[in-house]
Subunit: 288 residues, 2 copies
DNA sequence: TGTTGTGAAGTTCTTCACAGCT
DNA sequence: AGCTGTGAAGAACTTCACAACA
């Protein structure tokens, strides 16, 4: 299972393994199960006994045919003419996702983002337990965040083994991410959620998913640009500029250099911390 | 363009519009352009003049055929037998993504996550400028975060209009998200990046992408479960449990109730803030 | 009657493999 | 000789539309 050595990464956020389906649950379906679960949990709290695929789909923000197809991979858990039993579905999806068991996680890199994650309510309420917060900065060690002590990286291996941690969250600067990743994997972690803007290399059998804040914004910018700017790009776009002569390329390259230079400065400023030298994107966290 | 009224949401993070391609750039390709751009920027900083599709693909964590196909949608920017001019490609991709222009953004909800985003280096280095930080808590207003003053929600409309903001980032608790979203949209924002675990309803023409921390972990848990647990689920899975008798359902429902109850408590604790009552997932941010 | 569950059709995305150019 | 650009094949995902069933 899982992807090869260098984890490829699917569309936007994730890069977890393709073709991992146990008895054939499509990845796209797995990615939506948490959505359904959330909607169902809300219904459950309002003591709603049953829902139709139509209602639930609306609550989850998908269309009902997709939802029914998704559920069909799990089994026949509905009742024709009636709908789905909310409690029953909550249980089945929780079980399918593995949320009926306890998942200890470690968070490495306790800056603002690490803090935010440590405090995140969605973790605890889904069977995820923060087993430890780790940071390379000795000044942080001993302090507490979200009621937990921040411990030094030196203790990483020990904690992972003692607590049977199999999921690690990386919220370090990009320059430290691969190194932290390697240590996590060596210590036994087999699933990693990476917030650092870095492509992580992991051995086969280790899943990596990534959350990249900057990428999401760039995708929005792309669409945003199209909304008002049908003009200057419409006839200057892809097909027309293609096959540019050497002259055209030289001019564009000059412009590119200017852009690049500006970017370089920002990157340099951001990457003030040693051991980085990777790329301009750097989450504002204390290096770990 | 964009999706209907209730934004559906694709796989994991995003829910931006399908079929928005201007002159036919696939969504999947758009989602990867930022990845290529990052890899290229790194090369550019190392003054590497050209790259082959193979090298660049490795750096970006994709395969080379996919990369070449992606680039083919932009035009013929490479040189056969040689590769791609790094600077030129940086410029072309930046332009395609709309990063050659300035994108003012507002961040609403200045808790830990809002702070982390305000400090995030990847924003500034890609043409995104934080125009304002907003929060509903009067105690925060006046304080500064990441060098910027936190301003009160009352000023939202004014700021958006004065600064021509078209992109908004929501980092509020879930209960406040839809309301904030409505105000942003009414004031003229047409792209939203949502970190709150809520399905946002927006009018046509508005793009929403979401980043959901809890969902990513749940997807990892699903795969993690399969790694060691081929046993108890292998022959108890989908197909076999399907078509359960009424008895089986009742038993499972009882178990479900226990799970649900535990979850309910966590949710209640997390949702202490008034105006929520939505769902258990609540990022640790000050309500806005 | 109302709603599920699902073959089949349709769409999008990925990968292959090689012609075409430098 | 080497690498891009792309038609064509293949895989994954979505949507349709309706039979099956409570």
């Amino acid at each position: 299972m899982a992807t090869g050595r260098t984890t490829p990464a699917s569309p936007s956020p994730g890069g977890a393994s393709r073709r991992t389906r146990a008895r054939g649950i499509p990845d796209a379906t797995v990615a939506r199960l948490p959505l359904y679960l959330r909607a169902l949990t809300a219904l459950s709290e309002r003591s709603v006994p049953t829902v139709s695929s139509e209602e639930l789909a609306t609550a989850a923000g998908v269309n009902s045919a997709k939802l029914r197809k998704d559920f069909s991979y799990l089994g026949s858990y509905g009742t024709r003419g009636v709908g789905y039993d909310v409690e029953y579905l909550v249980y089945q999806i929780s079980r399918e996702l593995g949320l009926t068991q306890d998942w200890p996680v470690v968070i490495v890199g306790i800056g603002n983002l690490g803090h935010a994650l440590a405090n995140y309510g969605g973790f605890a309420s889904r069977g995820f337990r923060v087993a430890a917060l780790l940071d390379a900065d000795p000044a942080l060690a001993g302090q507490t965040a979200a009621g937990l002590p921040v411990r030094h990286m030196d203790e990483l291996e020990e904690i992972i083994r003692a607590e049977h941690v199999s999921i690690g969250v990386i919220t370090t600067p990009p320059g430290a991410a691969q190194q932290v990743c390697d240590r996590l994997v060596a210590a036994g972690v087999t699933s990693i959620l990476n917030f650092a803007p870095t492509v992580l290399s992991v051995p086969e059998g280790v899943d990596v998913r990534k959350v990249d804040l900057s990428i999401e914004l760039q995708i929005l910018a792309f669409h945003e640009q199209r909304k008002s700017g049908e003009d200057h790009l419409a006839d200057d776009g892809p097909a027309v500029v293609s096959r540019p002569g050497a002259g055209a390329k030289a001019v564009a390259a000059a412009a590119a250099r200017a852009v690049s230079r500006a970017r370089g400065k920002a990157a340099a400023a951001a990457a003030a911390e040693p051991g980085d030298g990777d790329d301009g994107d750097l989450p504002a966290v204390i290096p770990a």
